[in-house]
Amino acid sequence: MRAPISWLREFVDLPESVDDLRTVLDDLGLVVEGIEFVGEGLEDVVVARVDEIHAIKGADRIRRIVVDAGAGPLEIVCGAWNFEVGNHVPLAPVGAVLPGGFAIEKRSMRGVVSNGMLCSARELRLSDDHEGLMVLDDVITPRIGQPIVEALGIEPDVVFDLSIEGNRPDAWSIVGVARDLAARFGRPLREPEYASPTPGTPTATVASGEIDASDLCGRLTVSLLRNVRVGPSPSWVVNRLERAGMRSISNVVDASNFVMLELGQPTHPYDAERVNGSTLRVRRARTGESLVTLDGVTRTLAKPGRGLGDTGEDCVIVDGADEVLGLAGIMGGESSEIGLSTTTVLLEAAYFDPMTIARSSKRHGLRSEASHRFERGVDPELALRAVARFVSILRASVPDLEWLDGPIDVRGDVPEPSMVLLRHDDVERSLGTALPVDGVVANLRALGFAVALADAGDLVVTAPSSRPDIRTGAAGRADVIEEVARIHGYRRLVRRTPTWPQPGGLTPRQELRRRIRQVMVDLGVDEAWTPTLGSETSFALTHDGSTPIRITNPLASDESILRPTMLSGLVAAWGRNIERGLLDVRLGEIGVVFTHPRDAASARRTRGGAGGKVDLDLPLENERVTVVLGHRSDDATSAATLWTLIANRLGLADVVIRAVENPGAGAHPTRSAALVDRASGVVLGVVGEVDPQVIDLVAGVQGRRLGLLDIDLDVLADTQAVRRRSQRVAVPGRYPSAVIDLAFVAPLSLHAADLGHALSSATPLVESVILFDVYRGANLAAGTRSLAYTVRLSSADRTLGDSEVATLRDELIVVAGQHGATLR
């Protein structure tokens, strides 16, 4: 909201320093997002008369203008066309610096030297008008050479651009901001000038107002204004509006906007002649009704929207013939708009239910200054004061304006102002700072709260009608305490760093996540962050017949499905690097992938819907680590090697790589294998290569292999499913080990790791078994291959003799035989 300092000063005395004021406004939670200095940068701009206009050869957009600003003819190149010889326009001479810091220099265009710039109103930041130059003859009687500031009677001003929080509808007005400042500075808040109705004809004899939907409309006032002459507003009204960011339309509309900006009450003027029976009635819109709003758009009313809890309820204003005049509190209709010929005005000032306005405004995609205020909550007691102010402003241009006595004032349901019991220690218990009770009382009263002293230093606090944000009970106490703290100043409150006996720390799961990330990075993988939302195409290639989880309102169609795997994102990232000439890239990501509740073994059931009363099945979230190995020499064996190293660093007891029929979507069907905990049989991931079909999504990489490692962190974290090495450390024997090599012919169905494990467990004297060669050849029986192991044998209490080694060797051969392997 734009708050000119001159307007604020009408209500409260303020310090001179703009910087200090900015600090105070910020500290009150009325955050200053920008400051505009009106009149700044106009010091050097003067009135000039256009004496000659010449075309420039070869240029059809610009012309050579000769002007006189009191110091003789001056040539200027100008691109505007809305003026003629004899007009007076603003001239920024060479050396002038316009608002916003634009410095005017001598420039040459098409061989013509321009000695300054003729300005539009927008260039001078006087209005939004950029249609052409600001032709001064339209506004004033100009005098050559006169400073523009003097000619236009511009008073320097400072405009704060304030960001007003959603819980402060009262601050969405000049007087609301002034009230906060008055409270902070401990100064009185002045009242504006209000008009009184003209004694004589009572309003009720010529107009009427009714509320048919008292839950939607808490108050309707209808005033009748006679002897209206629609015309321009006085310049002080125009200037105020423009500084606050609104354009002057006519004295009646301006008065309405002025009051809204100043007090926060939107009002709506109707041409009384065009309102049947001079009657305003508030009711629910009926299905099938429509309305052409002031912006020329036809609105279908009472049509349910798709938002949660949107029933399509619209509140409308109708006339005596039940014709819809406007969408209440949002925008009026064309039919009853005031015009130049209007002489009698029916003025509506009302209070509407904030939620109703919010829903209607959202559904119709129609936001107005009025709806903005009503949906946050207008002071229900403000309506007639706002009318009195409206009349006082309009009387400046229409002195004989008649405001009929006894304006109509009907009531519906209005929220009761909250009453809160503030116990004597509540402020200290919440803020940790003890504030003297008289200070608390003074601050609250300055904000318009009624405060009564109860027993034992407790306070009974009643919120003003302008503060619908103040609730009751414990929540209301918190609201009131925030007000106390705000006026006192957050920066003056005590700070204390709390301590507690409970230790901080990471869970084993979080430790594991960090560990695996560290190991991955240590082994040469760069950590990536790929999108959670992917395309149909990538989903089709990387899911196992599962159901896609779609986003209802995606930003782009290729970002519409929750990823079933991180693989496609990583492959795309790898491809992007290759595109940029970075050919050796290994990327890994730790993140969440999603499974549709329909496909999940056990759904994640949670509460949802209005009031949390519905049971909802949410997608299963599975945390995984996915790595793609994309160095030019990488393939499935690189991935297997990487896994072996990671498994070792994670201290896994015995996870083996085991070929499987279907390694899963996205994995290379014949070059990938499962990671299996031998003891539990639980699969914790996939190792191998990326399916060539997926690689084909990336341009220019045909024939390249991409190693793949994909680990389920949820499974890995389960130490029952995936066992860890024993914590107990073994002390190696002092006696030398005997090393023997054994080569077996084993059927393809016998896993090398299983045979190795069998050999390891054959006798306690086996120290280690390591596979060192695999041989497949025509000289071996079909369906078999040779597996060669190095076996270390040792004893803790003796050196093994040759005969003992030979016996052990025979034992190992027997064990291998039990698994179907024969010594080669």
């Binding site: 940790g432 997608p619 596979l771």
Partner: protein, 356 residues
């Protein structure tokens, strides 16, 4: 059957026979024109219709076209089969039993990887809070509207929901399942489970990924990371909140960086505050980054709103608490003077390689 129909039947049969003789996808591509394409019998028959009268030409042409389409469909089916066969052959030729890979014989050349900027920043932030006595909590990225909004005192259709540009997930009733727009739902999970297990107090931070439906630019991404703090204990006050923010600020950003609070509005805290820290670029002198104020906004905080306590069943007379939240990515952006956030999701290794 007239002569033309016979002819169509014949060329159809010939085309299908020729198709059956094709064994590879390359062969199919090569022979396509002569089976059903420009050099096929269908094409030449079509040409011969030139001399017929229009009515007859149309009628015959339609029949020929039907026959040709049927053959084309067979060609496409064949193409799919051949492609699948080619893939199977290729995959079989490529077969590798990873169980038989002799890992011991593979060498792993030493290369250095790099942790991502966001992940590292998150770990650093967690470490600061762990040292201050906080535990770390995880929460889901897909939430119901109850956890993301209503339990946090943001009722349905309330204008405050407009503060978050929400991605809705197509599950359940419209607008009931969302990609969480902030980490605050984790507060609700933490309090609910503490109440259910009778395990209050809570001193936790909850980092994680959040989503807002906002077109990405240099300063924002549609996905981002936040860290949420939640303390629920006896006798917790606003002073504890301000002190916690202050201690964290100095510990993470450095001893010369201060924090300050100013009033703000969040539906789930009251009193609420925005917290600002000394601009890390100019150290308070005023610069472009901080719009010459010397301060930059970091996040929001406040005392837990009694309405939130009510929705999770915490007794506000026995317990009080505070919450805060701020952007992890934003901390990273500030510390590393990152000029374009989009670099974070491009995963260019020249970008990633800059981080230790």
């Amino acid at each position: 059957m007239n002569l033309n129909d016979e002819l169509i039947a014949t060329i159809t049969a010939e085309a299908l026979a020729a198709l059956a003789a094709v064994d590879t996808i390359e062969e199919l591509d090569e022979r396509f024109p002569s089976i059903v394409g420009k050099r096929s019998a269908f094409a030449s028959m079509q040409k011969s219709f030139g001399s017929l009268d229009p009515e007859q030409r149309r009628e015959l042409g339609a029949r020929l076209q039907d026959a040709r389409r049927a053959v084309e469909a067979s060609v496409e089916l064949r193409r799919i089969d051949l492609r699948a066969a080619a893939r199977t052959t290729m995959l079989e030729a490529d077969r590798l039993d990873l169980g038989d890979v002799v890992v011991a014989s593979q060498s792993w050349a030493v290369t250095l990887g790099h942790a991502g900027l966001v992940g590292s920043t998150q770990a650093e932030l967690e470490d600061v809070f762990v040292a201050m006595g906080f535990t770390v909590a995880d929460g889901p990225e897909v939430e119901s509207d109850w956890y993301n909004f209503e339990a946090l005192n943001i009722p349905p259709a309330h204008p405050a929901r407009g503060m978050w540009d929400t991605f809705y997930v197509d599950l359940g009733e419209p607008e009931t399942v969302v990609l969480r727009t902030h980490t605050s739902p984790t507060q609700i999970h933490l309090m609910e489970s503490a109440v259910a297990n009778d395990s209050l107090p809570i001193h936790s931070v909850a980092p994680g990924r959040c989503y807002r439906r906002d077109t990405p630019d240099a300063r924002h991404l549609a996905a981002f990371h936040q860290i949420e703090g939640l303390v629920v204990d006896h006798h917790i006050t606003f002073a504890d909140l301000a002190g916690t923010i202050e201690t964290f600020t100095r510990a993470y950003f450095g001893p010369d960086i201060e924090s300050r609070l100013r009033p703000a509005f969040f539906p789930f805290t009251e009193p609420s505050a925005e917290f600002e820290i000394t601009c890390t670029i100019c150290h308070g002198a005023g610069c472009r980054t901080c719009s010459n104020t010397g301060w930059i906004e970091l996040g929001g905080c406040g005392m837990i709103d009694p309405a939130v306590f009510e929705s999770v069943g915490v007794d506000p007379d026995r317990w009080s608490g505070f919450a805060f939240g701020f952007g992890i990515d934003r901390c990273a952006q500030m510390r590393h003077e990152l000029s374009d956030m989009r670099a974070l999701i491009e995963n260019d290794v020249r970008f990633l390689g800059q981080f230790a």
